[in-house]
């Protein structure tokens, strides 16, 4: 067991907080425990007012994305022993989204951008008698992009997004790829028109923060580059 000094971002505008501050807690933990375990121990044993999101605790729901030691990660997937110094952990909310309380951010803007890119299959032809067939190769092309759990770690790690809140951001652009490159989809043209705008793919400056932040190890920049290639080579 090790003693971990946990510095946690605290902000409660409802209680009249004008600006955020940090609280420090000392937690006893096993090096194999996750950062989410630290947050549980703080909330259950030391300060019940601490607010954070979590649901599945197994890296699937994407609720516990937060900034841990200056880098976006899922708290439930971040093993203490994998941190540079497991005895000191700083936990902050996802950057650039409005904080509702402590580590809980308002994801409305994130999901608004997600909806803008039409994240669903658009069919213009009547359905065949059986399913819409997709070959193994065609499925392979979108395989990596289907792994997104919409945690928001990528978009809130993107400097282009911090500077320009109108930028669709990596998560929405990844979804644009996922559906536009799906062999069963027939709405790529309208989706590509959306990402071809000023605040679409062209605001991606290939900084790769999103790739480093993605807990599902999706190379988002590669998917955005595929969109760029499709845009510059499409027929008018």
């Amino acid at each position: 067991m090790i003693q971990v000094k946990v510095k946690v971002y605290r902000f409660n505008p409802e209680k009249g907080d004008k600006k955020p501050h940090y609280d420090e807690f000392t937690v006893e933990a096993d090096p194999t425990e996750k950062v989410l375990d630290l947050l549980h121990k703080i909330k259950w044993e030391q300060d019940g007012t601490l607010a954070f999101r979590r649901s599945c605790a197994h890296g699937i729901c994407g609720s516990c994305a937060m900034k841990i030691n200056g880098q976006n990660r899922l708290a439930c997937e971040t093993n203490l022993k994998n941190l540079k110094d497991p005895t000191r952990v700083t936990i902050e909310p996802l950057q650039s989204l409005p904080v509702i309380k402590d580590l809980v951010v308002d994801m409305s803007d994130f999901f608004k951008k997600y909806e803008i890119v039409k994240p669903y299959l658009i069919a213009k032809t009547p359905p065949p008698s059986a399913e819409r067939y997709q070959s193994v190769e065609d499925r392979q092309l979108i395989d990596e992009s289907t792994k997104c759990i919409l945690c928001g770690a990528c978009s809130t790690s993107c400097p282009s997004n911090w500077k320009n809140p109108n930028f669709l951001g990596p998560a929405a652009l990844l979804k644009a790829f996922r559906y536009s490159f799906d062999s069963r989809d027939e709405g790529a043209a309208e989706r590509l028109d959306i990402v071809d705008q000023n605040d679409g793919v062209w605001r991606c400056h290939t900084i790769f923060n999103c790739v480093e932040a993605c807990p599902k190890e999706i190379n988002i920049t590669w998917h955005i580059s595929e969109l760029k290639k499709r845009l510059v080579s499409r027929d008018y």
Binding site: K67, N69, G70, Q71, E92, Q95, S157, P159, H205, T206, I207, F208, N209, V211, E212, N219, T221, W222, I224, S225, K228, K229, V232
Partner: protein
Amino acid sequence: MRYVKHYGTWAYILHRLTGLALTGYILIHIYLISGVHDRVSFQEEMAIFNNPIFKLLEWSLFSIVIFHALNGIRIFIIDYFNGARYHKQLLTGVWILSIVLFGAMGLIMFT
């Protein structure tokens, strides 16, 4: 709030900074050259720059140009080929090539 700077982040920051430096340089260059209209005044102006300090500055200008140009090619490969899959190796290549060319230019300029 601070965010960790990764390998790719540094490439982006340096690309921006070298881009700004080159913009500044080109403005100064155009300003200085704009007053030169004949051979004599050109040679007079060149004489000012013909000293070790300006040579060193020129050498550092070359380092800025070479990094910006090579990283520009890296960005092109990322955007229009599959470079996003091996962007870190590309950046390492940019560094190695930049240092080699910088050294070679130093040899040409100072020997």
